[in-house]
Amino acid sequence: MTAGTAAAVRVDTATPRSAVPWAWATIAVLAVCLYLGRAAAPWAVTFPEEWTLPAQAWVSRFVKWLYEDASLGLFTFQELTRAISWVLQWPLEAAKSLLSGGFVRGMGQQAVLIWPPLSWVGAIGVVTVMSLYARDWRLGLLVCGCFLYIAVFGQWHSAMITLSSIVIAVPLGVAGGLLLGILAFRHPMFERAITPIMDLMQTVPVFAYLVPILVLFGFNPVAAMIATIIYALPPMVRNTTLALRRVPTEIVEFGRMAGCSRGQLTWRVMVPAARGGLMIGVNQVIMLSLNMVIIASMIGAGGLGRDVLTALRSLNFGAGLEASIAITLLAIALDRLSQAYAARPPSAQSPGESRPRWRRHPHLLAATAVVAASWLLGWLIPAVQQYPEELQVTTGPLINETMKWLNVNFFDLIEALKAWVLLNFMVPIKRLFVALPWAAVVAALAYAGWRLGRWRLALLVAALAGFIAVTGQWEKAMQTLYLCGLATLLACALGIPVGILAARHERLNRVVQVIIDTLQTLPAFAYLMPVVMLFRVGDFTAMLAVIAYAIVFPVRYTIFGIRQIDPTLVEAAVASGCTRRQLLWKVQLPLAFPEIMLGVNQTILMALSMLVITALVGTRELGQEVYIALAKADVGRGVVAGVCIAFMAIIADRLIQPWVAARKHRLGIA
């Protein structure tokens, strides 16, 4: 990063500023010429098919070989994957029995229930006690309310299946991330090795590695859990190294002076001292695992995710919306609970330390009592064990009726709106993007790379873009770019003004913060359902869903960008007689601009990841490729398309980051 900054600063002084617009103009003219002369040199406009490499076939063949023939000395790769599945299956089954199915003996029809699952009363009791322990009765009410909704709306069974895979995936993800993070902290070589892999994993859409996992581990809950863990792991690794690095030097020195061995220093001193940072990682693992719920159901996870997916496929909006809301509430409850645990200071033990052990842990005692009581009552009163069906409420039919009514009465209006936007706005832009000569696009990207980071960045960007062309994904990539670009543009056009307003008005800011905090806890899929209900399938729907999902980022970064400006600068401007308007345009926006661009960067990344999800509603871009590949278990197709999406994200990231750094440097706020 610093190298990039230095290079960028050098470029600024080396290239006369007046030459820059000329360079861009030349590239634009080149693009037009190539397009007009496409009869003479068609290869420069549309990437010729005979130049493409059969990368898809290679990947497919490699995975097939891995699965069928690869041997790791003592055992084959297949045996390894089976062993992993077998090991992970046990805790998963146990959690599922405990929370939803109960412990049974025998199979199928002859199965005998030997121990019932935790009853709904017991489960709600336990989470409420946990919230009381972690914070206060207000959190208790919130969490209790979330779970009650799930019970009342008949989502209990599915929700508990989902929860059982979460309670196993999260500790595994946290432990794995912690260990890798500690390794990376201790061995810079290891860190250098895993950082690019982590970067790629965070940008490759989940779908892309769902396909290999599907092939290697099969279609079952364990495979889904493995995908979840892989997806949720990288932030934990990052947070761990970051948190360990932030432990004050003096604390580490104290540990060494106390004569700690390496292990003691890590586990007794550094990890506890880094608790705050680590807990942020844990929270992220939980949220990402919940984000995966629906996607994981594509390779065999049951529960709420599968309910949503089925509903989406059969356009049963009522059921889909209820399950979506249940996932959202689960996410909110677990998020708030884990944050409360993270913020919970170790409490002073009350003076009476001579009290018996059981009285020192009143919450543990209460939870045990709740479980025992609910279990006993469960035997006597079935309604305690299982939420009675006759008391269940469902809004499904109501929603379906409303939809029907909306469609009958407003169909024309909605369709007209959609058609108008599509015809006048989206389709022309799409045509333009697809018509762009690939050679000119690569040239433009390379030039931007050269300006910002000289040859290294130019080569990197050109190579990544070239990969997309060479693997025959160019047209799909352009469609991706069009959808993602439009969505980003609109999200920023809406989000940045909101951010500016919020940053300047404290009252509004408080409201906006609550809203964006809530929006950020929602799993990506939750945004799809309502949009599909209104606008059916297609690019328009996809774009709206992406905007809804990504708008949080321009808002958040704009607020942050304006708020982090040194207050003395603002005071100086006010003192020298700036009006509020001048203050905004002459001081706040220019200084916040780098930060806002980081928000744009984040928006692009989020839009790309969301596009893969919107493939469900029938777009025609790279996301759709991955989705089709998943349905056909075509590893090569899925991986190549996924990597192409990742490369697009990396191109955007690598171009925007040094630009921001250079800009900050020029403003003297680096």
Binding site: P248, E250, I251, E253, F254, R256, M257, A258, G259, C260, S261, Q264, R268, V269, P272, A273, R275, P345, P346, A348, Q349, S350, P351, E353
Partner: protein
């Protein structure tokens, strides 16, 4: 620069007590090309030489010896290399060259396991920002060094309680660090560093993060504890007043080098350089100088108003001397008269200080 032995020549405890910790030709240079420094040895490369090689010398050719039971204060402005020096003494920072002799044994030759043993049983350290473990109670923090050694719970908690009582925090055992004030936190730091009964006690600016009033209180507390335990101490500070108050001897450090080592009195009466006299200028001399430093030769014809001890600080006997027109006799430990002192001498000393005017010599 004179050799260290001659500089401590007239120190009271030297000769009677053994050297506990000494360092010879100690260097610490930071920078990527440390091997280029090795090529410059032996010899004393100048700061410019090192800078040319892309190196920063934080500790430059340092020599001193700390005697058993002595409070040895290392004083210097921020960035002068004090923290680096004290960390070299315990090898928290790996010295680039030289020797650190602990009980006559070169620490730099100790293996990692030996070093862990030495730190576990023989060294204690107090940090500027306390460095308490946030997840442990006061009791847990103080017992931590013992826990690491594998001491039984009962034994280590008993010892920890003893230490907590010593620093005056009894009743606070189950508090967490964030529930304590800065001064209380540093008391915990002190208790913790003493829990293992260390032979040598390092304190790196232990009171610098505290308010002036609390700082004074802590200094008194520190002297009280030292009067009970009589540890060998390396105490770092950037505050010359603090150094004067606490030190048996002070080493003044500048740009990684030690400029002068001596008792507070020696630094005031015989500053080695202008830099040292700059520090000592605003120090109330009467509080530092002993009667011995001020007295004149005895005169048998004079009638003495009374007796004062030669080792007493002038400030502590000033009133007695000034109130009498007659001079006082100065006596040593065996009550023999070694000199005399009169009111004019004391007044001159006090006035020069407060009036801020140097008297022409």
């Amino acid at each position: 620069m004179a050799d260290p032995a001659s500089r401590d020549a007239d120190h009271p405890v030297r000769g009677t007590r053994a050297v506990k910790l000494a360092c010879r030709g100690l260097w610490k240079v930071f920078g990527t090309s440390a091997d280029r420094f090795q090529a410059m040895l032996p010899g004393t490369p100048s700061a410019a030489d090192l800078h040319g090689a892309g190196l920063i010398a934080a500790v430059r050719n340092v020599e001193f010896a700390i005697h058993e039971g002595e409070i040895f204060v290392i004083m210097g402005l921020s960035g002068s290399g004090k923290s680096t020096l004290v960390r070299c003494l315990s090898r928290l920072v790996e010295p680039s060259a030289g020797q650190v002799l602990f009980d006559g044994r070169d620490l730099l030759k100790a293996t990692e396991t030996e070093l862990i043993e030495i730190r576990r049983h023989k060294m204690g350290m107090v940090f500027q920002n306390f460095a308490l473990l946030p997840h442990l109670t006061v009791l847990g923090n103080v017992a931590f060094p013992l826990e690491v050694q594998g001491v039984e719970r009962q034994a280590r908690e008993a010892r920890a309680r003893e230490m907590i009582e010593l620093v005056g925090l009894k009743g606070r055992e189950s508090c967490y660090p964030r529930e304590l004030s800065g001064g209380q936190q540093q008391r915990v730091g002190i208790a913790r560093s003493l829990a293992v009964k260390p032979d040598i006690w390092f304190l790196d600016e232990p009171f610098s993060a505290l308010d002036p009033l609390i700082r004074r209180e802590m200094q008194d507390e520190f002297l009280r504890i030292q009067s009970v335990l009589k540890k060998t101490i390396a105490f770092i500070t950037h505050d010359f007043d603090e150094a004067i108050r606490l030190a048996d001897r002070i080493a003044i450090m500048k740009d990684g080098e030690i400029i002068q080592i001596g008792t507070p009195e020696q630094l005031i009466t015989h500053p080695a350089t202008a830099y040292v006299s700059e520090f000592t200028r605003d120090i109330p001399r009467a509080k530092v100088l002993s009667v011995r430093a001020l007295m004149r030769a005895p005169d048998e014809r004079v009638e003495y108003a009374g007796q004062v001890r030669a080792e007493a600080r002038v400030a502590s006997v000033a009133r007695q001397i000034v109130e009498s027109p007659q001079p006082h006799a100065v006596v040593d430990g065996s009550s023999a008269i070694v000199g005399m002192i009169d009111r004019q001498q004391v007044i001159d000393l006090l006035v020069r200080q407060d009036g801020g005017q140097e008297r022409p010599k």
